[in-house]
Amino acid sequence: MNNPLDALPPDLVRGMTMPRLSRRRALQVGGLSVLGLSLAACGIPGAPGSKLGLHAAREEITKFWTEHAKNTGQLNFENWPLYIDVGKGSDHPSLDLFTKETGIKVKYGEDIQDDDSYFGKIQPVLAAGQSIGWDIIVITNGIYLDKLVNLDYLIPLDQNAMPNFYANASPLVLDPSFDRGNVYTMAWQSGMTGIAYNPKYVDREITSWADLQDPAFKGKIGMFADIEDTPNSALCAIGVNPETSTEADWRKAADWLKKQRPLVRKYYQQDYVGPLSKGDLWISLAWSGDIFQANASGSNLKFVIPKEGAPLWTDNMCIPVHAQHPRDAMTYMDFVYQPKIATMLAEYINYVTPVPATQPLILADAKAATSKDDKEALTELADSPLIFPSQADYSKLHRYRVLDSAEEKIWDGLFEPIYES
């Protein structure tokens, strides 16, 4: 347990920042882009294949963290919108507390709209061997996290600097299937993809994915322009567990989505909650926490996990290569795994918290709350299966299908045309 890397296959440990290699690669790529024509002649180089063995790789990682043993006093943290606690005004109490306790100043960004476009944004910069300017980025498990790992774009974490994580992380995010041994990631929050609807326009109980195909909602149905949530939800809809699905299942799921397509108003990126509250949409694919948050600020929407089951995902903090303050990043990532801090986040974000020890703390806050509204909201939060799913809930929730590159081609070919054109 001291060094989880020991137990790992070499390909997992392969990725790391290797100053010599990355510099050479930077020169390579940089030089090629300057001499555009030679680039055109030779092709665009792919990821560098590390020739180092497991032992050397482990030593390189240790060396890297020894070289970056001290905090620099600065941390640049890039996250998704509305994904952290907000205090009076627009400050973030948990970040302020972090600065107070560690002396590390935080620059906080909220520019990640979805994984694919964010990957498209940072990929050329990382490929050119440059820093993207952020020390922590938050990426959902799935195709794009796998790509970041396989392209050696993430720095393996310092396993000796994660005491809070190993003490408090829930089984859901400890040693997860998409990052065995937490080599590259620590979870930020998890959530479910289900159905949200506006009871003002939908006058019956929604229970099934089939409700997203009801012709009565024609032109008022929202879906996601997303290569994970939309296909994996469709797989659940046809009664298949996405994790173990086969190509034949994918074809059936694609047919399900094609049948639904004439009824769909729009395939949304991130902006479906507004139309849902306004009535442009009546019913939509949705993320659990979004609906909880919207209701906290006055909307009256409902969220359900359909009876056929639903996708469960985890957003992960990770450190991109060439990050300028990797130690500060490690310090912060472990910092948020203290139950006290995780509670501050959970009470605001309303997704599935990675620290189960927050539940009694939230209840304690509810008891201590002075206003009746706060008390009710916090109690509801602590009891909500969307924040603290029960074992029965988990049996209905499935991870995304993990795809190898040949499968990914088939998957993309089946599902992309449905929402892209």
Partner: protein, 288 residues
Amino acid sequence: MGARLRARLAPYWLVLPAWLWLVIFFVVPTLIMLSVSTMTGNLLDGFKQTFHWSTYSDGWDAYHVQFVRSIVYGLVATVLCLVIAYPVAYWIAFRGGRHKSTLLFLLLLPFFVSFVIRTQSWNFILSDNGIVLSPLKHWHVLGKDYHVLQTPMAVVGGLVYNFLPFTVLPIYVALERVDPALLEASSDLYANKATAFTKVVLPLSMPGVFAAVLLTFVPVASDYVNATILGGPKTTMIGNIIQTEYFTNSDYPTAAALSFILMAALLIGVFAYARVLGTEDVLEMAAA
């Protein structure tokens, strides 16, 4: 090496910056993209030049609907822009008087706001239960389920709204140069107002109209922002496809091939259009 030779070379030296600009920022990138369009591979293994020309036919097979749609939207939006822009330009040029520059400034004023914000604001204005549709639905002018957003109407409307100034300005410049004395002369020659317009003003403004059509149609046909913000599943334009292929799917060859098909289609269209209108107009337009 006499002074005479140097004098003869001088024009070439002077034109050099323009050539360099064109080569570095147009010719080289175009060649690179041309080369990328025939590569095969993926992000992990890299892309290799294999002269895989069938990317072009595959791209056309998969996305010809979006190509045709973009051209149709482009044509409709351009015609609407012309119909709206010509009277505006005419009015400013002939009736603007001393307020001409103020009026032109007002025309450009919306441009000082980010066009993403301007387009996004139509989402509020045209919302199903928003300030426009909700009274109309209340008075039963429109059905309960009627909506504008995510329809072709919304996308074409957004395109017209965003590109209108590109249509107005060239027409205005052409009309501004029409000497009002010519109108007096035509009325001396017994032309009524309509004849004076069709026989004198309109022909003289044609170079401006030509430029306006180019400046509107070309960017409109390759636009993707309006379709992203105001459109739905049935209004995707080829610009959206190229954007997704490039930035989301990292399928650089397909994105490059689609760009070239679009470029070829637009160039052929523009040259055909120039032939029909006559080369004289093109040269005049260039001079304008």
